[in-house]
């Protein structure tokens, strides 16, 4: 655990960051537009498909069951993936996962990635670069973030804080010519730039939205089509996902796909990819040959990294039901003022337990926990009805026990309540 003085510095830096963000007019404007459009779209999607709400309740049960039987599901998925000639690896720590990936890449390799928050737990990009790889984020938002060397500001729309003028600057630099702030034109330029990279890439790395244990099939929801290319063009495809993404059956996985997309404000996402093994053909003499048009090698890495510890605790366990739909943030009290600054890498109220266990630790989770107003509005909107205030309360208890309650809170509370804490 960190020293008290160091912790105070973390709190102060964090508060300064919030102050700065909340005073940024462009950010506020971008956020308020995003909030309104998210709410409008989700409302429409749920009006058109009202049964999604019931499906979400069912999904919560599926998720709970899956977490309580995670070891079973892991071995089921492993057996099937290996049976279908894919490779499976259960990584206990981010280092284990990176070691495994390290064996699959060579210096000079081009690596294309589609959106994966889990890969942040591995510090994947800088570490791949250290290994001599050239890494490209191919989701447009992630691409911008990567070029800006900043951090994602929303789990679904990472570049929510980047206006078109800024995007033009960044993309101009990347393609080496001056571009106007014209959105379709900018999108076209990135498409051109990345198209080549998809073909040159030796390795494609993706996340997963949900994984069906019975067949080991990975589902990826997306709109841009980049994940199709990442998972389809290079010779090797590596999936990195947390163990909480497992559900028992293909049908369960489809429920997760449907609920996640609706609450992520889509009537239907442009693409859902289901991937179970390397590409293959048996068209000549029924001889199965691996590596037809798609990847020849397929690896699924499931990451523990503290998740099993979370599963043991009934309050923290809920945090692993999270679908990363992003809805809570658009209905949050704090997020619309400061975006992902209310967070570490994982953000918002749900980011508190994820930061504590998966990426950052208690010292990074505590500042977020103490700025949550625990209003409970996100619970009303969350498809999984995750009780964020209760989780936040528990993290605060941990922080208080560890002696890292913020000093200014202690003082101000003393003044208000007359109690010496």
């Amino acid at each position: 655990m960190v020293e008290k003085s160091e912790m105070e510095k973390i709190y102060m830096d964090y508060l300064r960051q919030l102050s700065k963000a909340s005073a940024d007019r462009f950010l506020r404007l971008a956020l308020s537009r995003a909030v309104e459009s998210y709410r409008r779209n989700t409302e429409t999607a749920l009006r058109l498909f009202p049964y999604t709400v019931e499906l979400a309740e069912k999904l919560r049960e599926i998720k709970e069951y899956s977490l309580l039987h995670v070891d079973e599901l892991i071995s089921q998925a492993r057996d099937m993936i290996e049976d279908l000639k894919g490779h499976f690896y259960l990584a206990k720590t981010p280092d284990d996962a990176m070691d495994y990936i390290g064996d699959l890449v060579k210096p000079g390799d081009i690596v294309v990635k589609s959106k994966s928050l889990t890969s942040e737990e591995l510090h994947m990009n800088p570490r791949l670069e250290e290994m001599g790889c050239e890494v490209y984020e191919t989701d447009l938002g992630e691409f911008l973030i990567q070029q800006l060397k900043s951090k994602p500001m929303h789990i679904l729309s990472p570049a929510i804080h980047v206006p078109r003028e800024k995007a033009a600057e960044v993309i101009s630099k990347a393609v080496g010519k001056e571009l106007p702030p014209d959105i379709p034109l900018l999108v076209g330029e990135v498409r051109k730039l990345l198209r080549g990279k998809f073909f040159e890439a030796k390795v494609g790395i993706s996340g997963a939205n949900v994984i069906a244990a019975e067949t080991g099939s990975v589902f990826i929801i997306e709109n841009e089509g980049n994940a199709r290319l990442v998972t389809g063009l290079p010779e090797k495809h590596i999936v990195i996902a947390g163990i909480e993404k497992l559900v028992p059956s293909l049908l369960d996985a489809m429920i997760a796909v449907e609920v996640t997309s609706r609450y992520a404000n889509y009537k239907a996402p442009a693409y859902v990819s289901m991937i179970s093994c390397p590409s293959k053909t048996g068209d000549i003499e029924k001889q199965t040959t691996y590596g037809a048009h798609g990847p020849k090698e397929y690896h699924v890495i499931l990451l523990d990294n503290g998740r099993k510890e979370m599963i043991k605790d009934p309050i923290y366990r809920q945090a692993l039901y999270c679908l990363r739909c992003g809805g809570c943030m658009y209905n949050c009290t704090i997020y619309p003022l400061v975006a992902g600054n209310f967070g570490y890498i994982y953000m918002g109220g749900i980011g508190v337990p994820l930061t504590r266990f998966l990426l950052g630790g208690l010292e990074r989770a505590a500042p977020i926990a103490y700025t949550c107003t625990m209003c409970g509005r996100c619970v009303e909107h969350c498809p999984m009805k995750i009780d964020v205030p209760k989780i936040v309360q528990k993290i605060r208890e941990e922080a208080a026990k560890a002696g890292i309650m913020p000093e200014r809170l202690r003082e101000n509370l003393g003044e208000i309540t007359g109690v010496k804490i």
Binding site: S32, C375, G376, M405, V419
Partner: protein, 247 residues
């Protein structure tokens, strides 16, 4: 003292909202309620609990139990205290208080229905009711404050975009206003402008929480609209009732 009503004021009213507190006392008196207050009330320790100091909250609950059990009923104008006694005590601290605990909005409504409080005078004011998180989402008290407001003649009630379960937090909860007051105030400003979208001619926000009163007042100072910034008041139920009683 047994058999009496205890008016438990809570730290914010006792220390910071003195005029508002006086209104509460005067409504109690106007209704002829036989009640007591405590000279050495102290904190309910919900803030201490929320800060993460569960043990201290537990000890305080043991200590307070003997004081509180002497009463037939506890009435509090503070939703934090209300939730502490009604929900955190049994659910988190293993304590079941004997007396019934009511929020002032519930108690005043009872008094009105019993005819002990008769708001008659028209209050010609455009108001909005704000659901405090501790009272609404956390305690499920949505109807009584609304019914109470509906019994005051003359009011013009503005309905904001999100109410009840979906109401927008003012930013004063969860200790944010103690940890980072300037951000809490900005939350309130944003809430009024972007979420509730209050009209230019709104005159008062009525709410049942002293913490919300303080924080929304802080947020009003940053409103873009000058008229609102100058004129918009934040008041509690007792102040509203007082106006209607003709004081």
């Amino acid at each position: 003292m047994a058999g009496n009503v205890l008016l438990w004021l809570g730290c914010v009213y006792r220390k910071n909202l003195v005029a508002e507190k006086e209104s509460i006392l005067s409504v109690f008196r106007a209704a002829g309620v036989d009640f007591e207050t405590l000279d050495d009330e102290g904190c309910c320790y919900l803030p201490i609990f929320l800060a993460g100091k569960t043990d201290m909250a537990k000890e305080r609950a043991d200590e307070l139990e003997s004081v509180l059990s002497g009463y037939r009923m506890i009435v509090t104008p503070c939703p934090a205290c209300y939730r502490m006694f009604n929900q955190i005590y049994p659910e988190e601290l293993g304590k079941n208080l004997r007396p019934e605990v009511l929020h002032t909005s519930q108690f005043f409504l009872r008094l009105m229905k019993e005819g002990k409080l008769a708001p008659r005078k028209e209050v010609n004011m455009k108001i909005m009711y704000h659901d405090p998180c501790e009272l609404g989402r956390h305690s499920g008290v949505y109807d009584e404050p609304r019914e109470l407001i509906s019994l005051i003649p003359g009011l013009d009630l503005f309905k904001q975009r999100y109410e009840r379960e979906k109401a927008i937090c003012c930013g004063g909860g969860g200790l944010l206003s103690a940890f980072f007051p300037s951000l809490a105030a900005k939350v309130a400003t944003r809430k009024l402008e972007e979420e509730d979208r209050v009209p230019d001619d709104l005159e008062a926000i009525v709410t049942g929480c002293p913490q919300c009163i303080s924080n929304i007042r802080a947020g009003i100072r940053y409103l873009k609209n000058k008229q609102l910034r100058m004129n918009l008041k934040v008041i509690n139920m007792a102040q509203l009732i007082e106006m209607s009683l003709g004081r």
